[in-house]
Symmetry: C2
Subunit: 570 residues, 2 copies
């Protein structure tokens, strides 16, 4: 018998059924405020909250795999570990945990300490026909780490990269560093800070996701323009595959053949385990400028943002929030769209950039507080700046953004469906797309649930040729704690969202990956021939089809198909 | 018998043995000036110029393939057409033409008018075991279009995309357009100009290369920073493969799986024929600012450029030229390095950008003419601006840049080796790399030729993590018109350059593609496992291994190996 203690790396315990750490979540004050908001919104509904689960609530299927004797020091079958790695962090994942519904727990969990460990694990899995699920922070919201692989495998092994979390090298001259892939966001930034450097990749999951996960899923980050995805920061990668090491060379740029890094980026654990990466960094910004700009309508705001996106000014922040979403997040009164605009630099004062940006937004009817903009550009102490960041419309919005995953835990337990989907579309089609998606999703949700829903929108990132709109919807999913009914309705809504977004010309995901839950949309938007080509490439690296079966594509010769939550009964 | 006239699209005739159009080349004045320069430089050498060839000089191997009866309207075996498509435009290609040495002419040339034509050609080739060489402008300088495919094929068919050259759609709102891939640079820009748009992709080959070629080879363009490669402008692509159409969706950004476009970009004709692309465009710039900055040494200049590259200012032009190269191109006296710095915008005056850039270069010892910089920022008539562009150090340099491929024709014929190679390296290694490459290449050339060579350097593009240095070398290759000896020496130099650049950590090519001539370096810098993965992907699209065999990688099951000029005897 293996002691769990020696296998699982030391550190705070993760919450198996929801966001963040065990014993963390919404505060009493937050719960009260949420409760009041929900009671007001769903006045008359019979809401009953399902209590958070305990490990002892679950009668897990026994592990189908014996811990290999040579890997005892890094492999465990501890029940809580199996629960922690049973799901990602999607709405449906949280709901299923609250339902105590875990039909496909992983059989074993491994914590490799080295690339040799990773290779040994893959060798063992290959010999035993064991499916392997690479695991970073486990913050997937699209079924990317779910060990539901069908009956074709002897069992499932999750490889959690948590112990491979070191900063190996810092090159201040080129502003780059080499990291192990299992490093979490806060640890990565803490290690860079003494050197005056930062990756500045701050997804909503920042605290609870890893560099390797960001790369594997093409995560989106801090910058609204220019460096929208982690893709842009990857200088070189190392990946261990069942067929050996695949390594790329550290280069600022190259034209030598199709990019190997671009094959690895977005591979979602299907080609190998990313073990290391050289990442491009930034100097820590010392100059800032920000503005909150109001627009009569989302469409008017979008015209202004289009002008900004094509101006060559490259705002760091350019978050256009429609009236309904601004109101929901406490950043507006619901009468106007809000643009949160910001610039930052470690090199130069930003007044000329902001001045030109304000001219552009004014040209499109934007209204802003000139003095607040001026204040934002004044040099200030770090502490003052932090305080200012927490205040005002932008601060309100930011706080809601960070706390949203925690709030959702409470709402799910009450039977309320609250979820998001994000996409991208060219500017020429945006107005129709926005109208089409919000309208069609509103109608679909009403048809599915019988209830009125809110469907709101913001832009997370912008490009010269189009925005990345991010939609949030909320609806009463079911009453009296009937989470099974709620989940069935969520499933139908998710399938509708896949179809609406891709039928109207968008991508099924701008920065949340494909996983299992976006496969229907992915198959609409890509050529089958490309997916088969990707499968052929995978087959060279993973001939046994062991790696993350069911995610993105099916392995050659294995019909995993639509596994995960979108399959009825899961 | 097919009439060549009806098969070959109307238009100016291309020069089969050198750069540009038939009957174009260096002017009498240029020839005189070149002659004087050469005589001065190689004083005492016995130079004898080999005369340009005529079609009638060649006794080509008869075509091994009969023109298929169903494809008579688009296929020809005309001898001049076979010569036009026998080589690209590298130094060695020109030398071999002057030597009247064409052992591997293509058997047939096709000019498809439609995607259906392309499919029909691929079907026919598949049935006959015919190797297919996709051909854009044919300006490859790395053996990318050479029909030297070994003995494993029944013959070779070049598919020239010249007739598929239309602008199909312009989306001014998103600033994008859909083009057929065979469109040449000038035609593309002329079609956009009335709409106030521009692709701004101006490689040295601009006049004589195509959009499809730029995409297939990851061509480098106009912008020194930010948009360095054509990659950054590709919004979506269509490619016809032997297994059918592979099409990507028009999206400003996406995180859905590994990028299909990034597999197509850089595939160098080995995966299929790119037939169309949606490209991201720019508004035509109306604001400009430029400066010519002198530095005591290349290393000092590089420090300034590093600061610029990491400033977030994103200069459009940032060409650092070492003292020797500045002198050779008539833009300096050989005592100092020269930085040609420029900004352009369609949106805003550039004084704040330029002011900060000048602070940075001053901090690193750069010297510039303040009044000239001020003049560069004054609004001016287009005609004045064009005149100014032709004058001064920058203008001198630009003229030399455009005319260089023509000058080379004359020099090759005199037995002088003049060639370039370009790479990229991170900043932390740049100083050693620059010293290492120039020193080792100087020594290698001396060992190979017994002559003193010049090896000079400039930066073509810059990144926050490193520059893309571009090296030019010149040496007396052989006397008395002994081009065979010159070519053998060139071959050894090319092999040395592959090794030196990649052994010192660089990429074998920053924007000239791999083709055949960079395969040794490509195999040093990439994982074999990646190349095999790429071959597996290719095998799905091109199971017969018909497409551009010998370029980039070998098709699965076909041992083409190092074909082209690097194989002795070619």
């Amino acid at each position: 018998m293996t002691s769990q203690h020696s296998v699982v790396p030391a550190g705070p315990k993760r919450k198996f059924w929801g966001w963040g750490l065990a014993n963390e979540g919404v505060s009493a004050a937050e719960r009260k405020s949420l409760g009041a908001a929900v009671a007001g919104r769903y006045d008359g509904a019979s809401l009953r909250e399902v209590a958070p689960p305990e490990v002892s609530d679950f009668d897990l299927r026994p592990s189908r795999l014996a811990i290999p004797s040579t890997l005892r020091s890094i492999v465990t079958d501890d029940p809580e570990e199996r629960l922690i790695h049973a799901y990602g962090k999607s709405f449906a994942d949280c709901a299923r945990m609250l339902m105590r519904h875990v039909p496909n727990p992983p059989d074993l969990i491994a914590y490799p300490r080295s690339e040799e460990d990773v290779s040994a694990l893959l060798d063992w899995a290959d010999g035993k026909n064991v499916a392997v699920i690479p695991f970073g922070g486990g913050s997937s919201v699209c079924g990317g780490v779910e060990p539901d692989v069908g009956d074709d495998y002897a069992g499932t092994l999750v490889i959690d990269m948590l112990a491979m979390n070191q900063i190996l090298e810092i090159d201040k001259t080129s502003r780059a560093a080499r990291f192990q892939a299992g490093i979490y966001g806060p640890q990565l930034e803490a290690g860079l800070k003494p050197h005056g450097l930062t990756l500045r990749h701050f997804p909503q999951s920042f605290e609870f996701s890893t560099l390797g996960g960001w790369i594997a899923t093409r995560g989106g980050g801090h910058y609204a323009s220019l460096y929208t995805h982690i893709d842009d920061f990857v200088e070189a990668t190392r990946m261990i595959t069942p067929q050996g090491l695949l390594e790329t060379r550290r280069l600022p740029g190259s034209g030598a053949g199709p990019s190997a890094d671009r094959m690895i980026i977005g591979s979602e654990g299907t080609l190998g385990l990313i073990t290391e990466a050289w990442m491009r960094l930034q100097d820590r910004p010392t100059f800032r400028a920000s503005a909150a700009v109001g627009f009569a309508t989302m469409e008017k705001g979008a015209e202004a943002v289009r002008a900004l996106s094509q101006s060559g000014l490259f705002p760091t922040n350019c978050r256009l929030i429609d009236a309904a979403e601004a109101k929901n997040s406490g950043a507006g009164d619901g009468t106007s769209a809000l643009l949160v605009l910001g610039f930052e630099s470690a090199d130069h004062p930003l007044a000329p950039w902001m001045e030109r940006a304000l001219e552009l937004v004014s040209d499109h009817g934007g209204i802003f507080d000139r003095e607040a903009v001026n204040r934002s550009m004044q040099p200030k102490e770090a502490a003052d700046e932090a305080a200012e960041h927490r205040q005002g419309a932008a601060g309100q919005w930011r706080n809601a953004f960070i706390r949203a995953p925690y709030y959702r835990e409470v709402l799910v337990g009450l039977g309320i469906i609250v979820d998001t989907f994000e996409t991208a579309i060219t500017w020429d089609r945006f107005a129709d797309f926005y109208k089409g998606v919000t309208g069609q999703m509103h109608d679909a949700i009403k048809r599915i649930t019988g209830q009125e829903a809110t469907v709101t929108c913001r832009f997370t990132h912008i490009y010269p040729d189009g925005p990345a709109p991010y939609f949030t919807f909320q609806v009463l999913g079911a009453e009296d704690g009937n989470l099974a009914l709620m989940l069935e309705r969520w499933r139908e809504i998710k399938i509708a969202a896949n179809a609406v977004v891709t039928d109207l010309g968008g991508t099924v995901t701008h920065h949340h990956a494909v996983g299992r839950d976006h496969r229907p949309g992915y198959e609409t938007q890509t050529s089958q021939l490309f997916r088969e080509t990707l499968a052929a490439a995978k087959h060279r690296l993973d001939p046994g089809g062991l790696l993350n079966p069911g995610v993105l594509i099916d392995p050659v010769g294995r019909a995993v198909g639509q596994s995960g939550i979108l399959r009825k009964g899961n």
